[in-house]
Symmetry: C2
Subunit: 429 residues, 2 copies
């Protein structure tokens, strides 16, 4: 049997998919029993050199040539963005084709309507490549853990920020130097805003949570902080306390409610997640029966992401071979959990404040914390000149209480600057 694939978007990831399909075609045929033929490729800039030659696919400028070809069974959308990409995906479903995409922004923005469209059309939208690149986490959750209930997700979901934080921790570079190095090595784009401010990780966390919890979280309730204001000082204080700082996407299901957040997080330096360095991504799950599990791999790049995209293509192709009735059941909202407002999130916290020297300072600060029901688990004040840094680790407290306490501390006449508030998670794997 032969399945025809059309590719829209012949950029970095697209080149990886073309390489993989062409180089490993005999292996794919032997393993899956299906001949997967890339027959059409479309890109707005067809003439650019990409370091890979199309062996048999026709290359055109207009994606409609892919959608209009009745022989094409599966459309791979690698355009990026949410405008043209939407047209491609919606158009492919309209033309009764299956879709494979690595576009997290599109699925974050318009996934709900596209899934509904896919269900009506009885076609699949697969998106393994859109979360954590080559790490097969969507399949692991949707299939391997089909019988289990995931309750916690910790994700290092953005390679750019993980690279920067690793350099800050290991080389003691300030943020700007680490960012410059990431750009130099190709781990950060010219405009890295969406990586640095946590938006990219937020998109991926949303997709992970929707698969894990069988429902779409409320986007507005997702707490998001980036790493742009992480100071080297806090990275070093964290290290002294036995923690490393990682940008984590965290989704939890507790008391029948979801909470989702992306923020810099102090995690114990000895845990396996802390050993995930540089541009690598990781997803740690905790579920009822399996307990903790960790998946680590390259979260970006042409070749790793291509394995995820082609894995999706083969799944659909095998389904066609087996005359599977495609029902897009994966997108059924089985559950209907509410999403906690970000102020209701419960976490441990790292607070750093700077004060002038004066009697009664600690009494005043600890009273503010106590009034907000925030218990202290550790406090460090170092000898030295003003301003004196005080670092406090709290027990679990509510986000809004901590924010109120920080504002009250900042309003004191002996504190200087703003209190740094970072989240702390105890991770036991």
């Amino acid at each position: 049997m032969k399945v025809n694939v059309g590719l829209v978007g012949f950029g970095v990831i697209g080149s990886g998919v073309v390489s993989l399909l062409q180089e490993h075609a005999p292996l794919l045929k032997a393993r899956s029993g299906v001949e997967i033929a890339l027959t059409r490729v479309a890109d707005i800039d067809p003439d650019r050199s990409r370091g890979v030659e199309l062996t048999s696919a026709k290359l055109s400028r207009d994606y409609r040539e892919v959608l209009d070809d009745p022989n094409i069974d599966i459309v791979v959308e690698l355009v990026g963005g949410t405008t043209a990409a939407y047209q491609v995906v919606a158009g492919a479903l309209e033309a009764n084709k299956h879709v494979v995409t690595a576009n997290k922004a599109l699925l974050y923005e318009r996934g709900a309507e596209l899934y509904a469209h896919a269900k009506t059309a009885r076609r699949e939208i697969r998106f393994e490549g859109s979360v954590a690149g080559g790490i097969p986490i969507v399949k692991a959750m949707a299939e391997s853990l089909v019988s289990d209930r995931v309750t916690t997700i910790y994700g290092i979901l953005n390679g750019t920020t993980n690279f920067i934080l690793t350099r800050m921790i290991e080389e003691q570079w300030p943020f700007q130097d680490a960012l410059a190095r990431a750009k130099q090595l190709g781990f950060a784009e010219a405009d890295p805003t969406l990586d640095i401010n946590g938006s990219d990780a937020q998109h991926k966390l949303y997709l992970l949570a929707s698969v894990a919890f069988d429902t779409m979280p409320v986007k507005e309730s997702i707490l998001r902080e980036g790493i742009e204001s992480i100071e080297l000082l806090d990275v070093l204080f964290a290290k002294e306390l036995g923690y490393v700082v990682k940008l984590l996407g965290i989704a939890k299901l507790e008391n029948q409610a979801m909470s989702l957040r992306v923020h810099p997080t102090l995690i114990p330096e000895g845990c396996a997640l802390a050993s995930v360095k540089n541009e690598f991504n990781a997803v740690m799950l905790r579920s009822d029966f399996l307990g903790p599990a960790l998946f680590v791999g390259r979260g970006a790049g042409a070749r790793p992401t291509a394995t995820a995209v082609v894995g999706d293509i083969v799944d659909i192709a095998e389904g066609m071979l087996q005359n599977r009735e495609f029902s897009a059941s994966r997108y059924t909202s089985v559950c209907d959990y509410p999403t906690l407002a970000s102020g209701e999130i419960v976490s441990r916290y790292y607070l750093r404040l700077a004060t002038n020297e004066r009697p009664g300072i600690l009494a005043t600060i600890t009273k503010i914390l106590g009034d907000e029901q925030i218990s202290i688990s550790a406090i460090h004040q170092k000898e030295g000149d003003e301003p004196i840094p005080i670092v406090i680790l709290t027990r679990t407290a509510r986000e809004q209480n901590v924010r109120r306490a920080a504002a009250a501390i900042d309003a004191l006449d002996f504190t200087r600057g703003r209190t740094v508030v970072l989240h702390v998670e105890d991770i036991d794997l």
Copy 2:
């Protein structure tokens, strides 16, 4: 649609499967669209209390009641061992039923004939639970990486030995104390021989390699060493050199040939694999397109293994729902690589020898190594009383050369005892 499942073997894992199927039945139905009904359970000791009640399945002593029931679609074999378990699996295929098993010993010993049987019968044998418990590594390789070529597997495949080595490294306990503690905590069986000597890890490595490389390795060529003779001294020397000792299963595909080995291995203390501690298992893969990837989770225990078993059940059940033609294509030997004889394996090595004090010792030893084409990358000799320990790290060398060199060193009149030979692997994730 309803799929009927029969379970043979109501022991520890069996109880986990019963709990999972019963507790999460509504979730499973909602997600998969299939009602998975456990209708029969057989165990030679049906009267024992297991902490879980059967809600609707009939319990009997004779497994043939499961095989003879024409309504049962899938037989779950959790008997263990290779004798009765073989009868169950072969009998189930004979009766045209699909099989799910967590029995690595059975598949290691008789997998080839059972797969052949399954192909003829057009039925599935699934075995996710037989390797690394709840870690979904078989599916990841067979499906997510269907398009990629795995070239290296590093596995921490046995929780008992990983627990013991962790205690030796972290608490500086001798082997026997760590083993006693493992037994106390239930991480080692009363007779832990097959765990300690590497046999259990060897079975799992064999299964992993057969999935990764699409062919059955030659069992006799698998190098196997256990941890029974690991001395605390070597664990501590390794630590000084920046390494931790782990029992690894290693499979490599190099120059179109496979090599498989299970042995204590020095790996860099900073790598992610080194952070996998206590009873946890892990599999690190390296493949052409994905690059390095790591999977960590609980490798044993009723509840984690149950997720793998039920994941397999649901895969088959969904296939039945979709009228899939089962062709057991997963067991096709697509490739036909030879397996290197164990003496041909290439590795880096850690050598520790003890000598009397005498001039010219290092010259003699290094000449023996040089004559066997073994290059030294580091050498440490400490001041102190006789016998003087000398630790040598080598560059890559052939197993048989290193063994010959060690024998020649042991035959010198100034060396004492036997040279300790451990393998070293540089792991970059």
